[in-house]
């Protein structure tokens, strides 16, 4: 080995050591609190009990997939995501486009739209109850317009109420992401389109949406994840055992925690992790395919 190679090797080793020094506190914590226990969760999901520890491979998963409470929770959660994610993407993009159109009071509107993200859900949940209770304000308005009362919170309609609460809470945040994306579109491109006499619709679909595709992807991922977190809103609005379509995966997990069924819990966590990884990989693929011609 020449001296030069030796030197190179030493400096590379030194780099590794330094990077590890800075990373170690975080890596240690992530290892202890997330990676290691998740390994145990995977192990638990394939044995028949913490006591006997017989390897049963996929039994827990088939048992879980036959569990009606889990299926109900999974179905409701997916239904909620299917409703909330597209609405969140479209509406927040709409808000961003409106604020981009140079209307007066732009920054004030931005503050207003963003404000819900700072308000703890627990703080405003009372108002939502006043609005949507059986004797609540919304029903008063519906009746004054000649409609019939609807039991918003106790029937299948309750999922729409929570979608509304979800949008209220999250739209401002996503709007900021879209505004940043819009600001990154090269001005010259839009000016050329203007000179060529392109219509607003054409400009939107042919230029803006193309450049926004990474943002669309990111907002989709974030709203998907937030839609899995919507248990919070549901719990604060309707408690531990909600009626209608609001029994979510997190409710299932909470109730399973109470009975200390680690096998069921672990299997559920592993399934969720797999579903998430698959969904995210899928979204990445879509984004690659959709936005490849604007990269760089």
């Amino acid at each position: 080995m020449t001296d030069r190679q030796k030197e190179k090797r030493i400096s590379r080793l030194r780099d590794y050591a330094a990077s590890l020094c800075f990373l170690s506190p975080s890596l240690l914590g992530v290892g202890v609190f997330f990676i290691l226990p998740f390994g145990v969760v995977v192990y638990y999901s394939m044995i028949d009990g913490v006591g006997s520890r017989n390897f049963v491979f996929l039994d827990n998963f088939t048992r879980l997939l036959g569990n009606s409470a889990f299926l109900l929770a999974a179905r409701n959660t997916l239904l909620f995501s299917a409703l909330a994610v597209p609405l969140a993407v479209v509406l927040s993009l709409l808000l961003a486009l409106m604020l981009e159109a140079r209307i007066p009071g732009k920054s004030t509107f931005r503050t207003f739209f963003l404000s819900p993200m700072m308000v703890p859900v627990a703080s405003v949940v009372l108002i939502w109850q006043v609005l949507f209770s059986y004797n609540g304000s919304v029903n008063e308005w519906v009746m004054s317009l000649g409609g019939g009362r609807i039991d918003w919170l106790q029937t299948d309609y309750n999922i729409y109420v929570v979608v509304l609460l979800f949008l209220w809470k999250n739209l401002g945040y996503f709007m900021i992401l879209f505004m940043a994306g819009l600001a990154n579109i090269p001005r010259e491109l839009l000016e050329v389109a203007d000179v060529e006499g392109a219509s607003e619709t054409y400009k939107f679909f042919a230029i803006k949406l193309r450049y926004l595709s990474p943002t669309v992807l990111f907002v989709m991922i974030l709203s998907l994840i937030n839609s899995f977190k919507v248990f919070r809103e549901v719990y604060l609005l309707t408690g531990d055992y909600p009626l209608g379509r609001l029994y979510m995966l997190q409710h299932f997990m909470n109730n399973t925690f109470r009975s200390f069924d680690y096998q069921k819990l672990s299997a559920a966590a592993v399934i969720m992790a797999i579903v998430m990884v698959v969904l995210i990989a899928l979204l990445f693929k879509i984004e690659d395919w959709f936005g490849k011609d604007v990269e760089g």
Binding site: F22, L23, S26, G29, V30, F33, F34, L36, P37, F38, V41, M98, A101, R102, I103, P104, F109, R110, T111, F112, F113, L114, S115, P116, M118, P120, A122, S123, V124, V125, L126, I127, Q129, V130, S133, N135, S137, E140, L177, M179, A180, G181, P214, T215, F218, I225, F228, K229, R232, Y235, L236, M253, F257, L265, S266, A268, A269, M272, A273, V277
Partner: protein, 292 residues
């Protein structure tokens, strides 16, 4: 012609924005104004919804009211001064959230420096793993958190929430994105002057990221100030619960009190918002996309 059309569409958008603004502000404003109502006024207005006990007038129709007939601080006095219950929960919230914000940002800034300064296949792979971990919902992370807390014997103590919170990868991700934007020439120049890595980190990177650190601290604060899932699983003891969980358990006979405590609970985050909105917006905007 074209100009006229543009003016018209801008007018339509302005009106739409106004409508949205009202909808967005309504729940927050109503919560705040209603907190200044006396118990009897609350009962009269909302008695139909929240089954109340005791006498007094109850309106047949629910009245969603913006302005109280008579402004009173009585709810605040009974919630904050007459009984210690709420103050204890408030204190619980602070004790949980403050260490998480401080230490998560501190540990993340060191880790972000590492991800910024040294790249390579393995290290970029680790970073990508952090991103995936950041994207995992509670249904995935809470079971591991629960198991570790049991092994360490910290279940039912605040540590079971604080420790995983400190190592949550969100700040690492965001801060790395900020740090990678620092011009490399700055670091190179410091190296030529003989600065070691720690000096580059504390004297160049941290000051360059000051606004990013603030915005990330705000984001982490809101996230944990609003928490519900973790305390429900990890803290069985009702006295140890933060106010975000406890607010929902308020007796339906005390709705006025609930409005007042809800308002008190949103004050810190609203103040942070008003003070740091620009930073916050910058912080959100810089997330951009998950890649790179």
């Amino acid at each position: 012609m074209r100009k006229k059309k543009r003016m018209f569409s801008r007018g339509v958008m302005f009106v739409l924005c106004l409508v949205f603004a009202v909808l967005f502000l309504l729940p927050t404003v109503l919560t705040i104004t209603n907190s200044f109502m006396s118990e009897s006024e609350i009962k009269a207005n909302y008695g139909m919804i929240f089954s109340t006990t005791g006498g007094g007038f109850v309106s047949k129709h629910v009245n969603l009211k913006f302005i109280p007939d008579r402004v009173t601080l009585s709810q605040y006095i009974s919630g904050l001064i007459k009984s210690p219950n709420y103050l204890i929960k408030y204190w619980n919230s602070i004790l949980l959230v403050a260490p998480i914000v401080v230490f998560q940002v501190a540990i993340a800034s060191v880790a972000a420096y590492s991800f910024t300064r040294w790249r390579g296949k393995i290290r970029d792979g680790i970073f990508f793993f952090y991103v995936i971990l950041m994207l995992m919902p509670y249904q995935v992370t809470l079971v591991p958190n629960f198991l570790v807390s049991q092994w360490l014997g910290i279940i039912n103590t605040p540590w079971s929430i604080i420790l995983p919170g400190i190592f949550a990868p969100f700040s690492v991700f965001l801060l790395t994105k900020f740090m990678r934007r620092i011009p490399y020439s700055l670091i190179e120049a410091a190296k030529v002057d003989g600065a070691n890595e720690w000096q580059i980190f504390t004297r160049i990177c941290l000051p360059e990221c000051r606004s990013a650190l603030y915005s990330i601290a705000i984001l982490v604060f809101i996230d944990y100030w609003n928490m519900v899932e973790q305390p429900l699983i990890l803290l069985k003891d009702a006295d140890a619960q933060p106010l975000s969980v406890f607010l929902s358990n308020i007796n339906s006979g005390e709705i006025g009190l609930a409005f007042a405590m809800a308002t008190v609970y949103m004050i810190p985050s609203l103040l942070l918002f008003l003070h740091g909105e620009e930073y916050l917006v910058e912080g959100i905007a810089n997330q951009g996309s998950v890649k790179g």
